[in-house]
Symmetry: C2
Subunit: 237 residues, 2 copies
Amino acid sequence: MNSAANALLTTDEPAETGAQQIRDAIRDAIVERRLSPGTKLSESDVGNLFNVSRTLARAALQALSYEGLVSVEKNRGAFVAYPSPDEARQIFAARRLIEPGILREAAARITTSEIQHLRQLLLEESRLISERGQTARRAEIKASGDFHLTLAAISGNTIMQRFMEELVARSSLVIALYGQSTISSCGHNEHGDIVSAIEAKDLDHACHLMVHHIAHIEADLDLRERKGQGLKEAFDL
Amino acid sequence: MNSAANALLTTDEPAETGAQQIRDAIRDAIVERRLSPGTKLSESDVGNLFNVSRTLARAALQALSYEGLVSVEKNRGAFVAYPSPDEARQIFAARRLIEPGILREAAARITTSEIQHLRQLLLEESRLISERGQTARRAEIKASGDFHLTLAAISGNTIMQRFMEELVARSSLVIALYGQSTISSCGHNEHGDIVSAIEAKDLDHACHLMVHHIAHIEADLDLRERKGQGLKEAFDL
DNA sequence: GCGCAAATAATCGTATACAATTTGACCGCT
DNA sequence: AGCGGTCAAATTGTATACGATTATTTGCGC
């Protein structure tokens, strides 16, 4: 979840129960890549970090495991998910399958003010790209996902929106692991092209662009098995 | 989850931690309609029922809330989900969006033995339809969903498979609430037609049949607001 | 020095205990 | 009788406690 998508479609429930706050905080940390895949998330550590008991820490980690962002191994603990190349392929296959449909739904209902909102996002995004510094990089990662999430929000289907949130978050993990170029949104302004196609009411073209956009992101990955960040490979490479 | 889909694609983790067993038990009860929408699921009651502490009961309910099968209201408790008509529409919209894609993926990878497996399912399904008695009805409900879940399993994408599991389960809730005819699979053997189309490698036709099949299920619903519980929805909607 | 077993430490799984919140009831008042 | 307020019961939110499992280290024999 993010402020941009929230601005459009939110089921205001201001009272967040502790565990949810922790979950959101950790999720943000994972998506923004302040937590590397494979990092151990001990219940006690998480609890101490947020000044809550293990009960709440556990609940938060449990929640994140349902979203596929952390994997909990019985009697061993929770770790930031370390998606396998196969998992990565499935994530992008799912996005190719889902996003054109979302795009069509969104285009059918989109209002002029929502188009404006999208353009605003694009502006912000390109601003971040030109900026330098780690915080800008993190904001850029988030902004890049926000575009897809906002489209899902516009589609009006909260279920698909949630699916997309999961897929975008996990995509960030995959890119962190297997991405080659510094950032996925490399040069081409593909998001902008999609908005233009929507505006021109050329749905087929918009879907075409979307599918290729996802393919481009995936093409930037080097999906070869990394042995659990092995100490062996780290040296004989 | 179900035995049929499991038979095809399962990541055997034999050790199920208490909470998961409870979650599965409750989920089955909801999907098979032994628990009505809106039923209160108190943590203590659930715990006593399964002879575990509230901790595990709570974890199970929490898990089910992530799947949309129970709704937990802060400081009030957990209830079997009571999907609104709008939610119901979104569920079926999501299925129409997703299932054709899954079908295409599945058809591309399907083996002859898997086709045989599907036919077996259809046979079982029609056998249950002819049988009478409540246990047969429940088995029929499950079998009807198993067809869609098995297709998802064949598609080979575990992520989409999980999405489908959620959607099928929630569909069962919706049908329990808003269904008119006794059972959704009314007369027409639509599942069988889809398998035939897959076998004939006529993907476009298969997708067409699938979309209509979902539409038929939805058409059997009477999606009008029931003032059963939602005092909030009854007014602010 | 090297492997292997036992003790030790760390961490998770589950239960119980206590605090906070909500709900419903009782009781006096108008 | 109807209304409002206060209190008690029930239920959830969170923390702590203890047993079980896994990882690590120690110590011994070779």
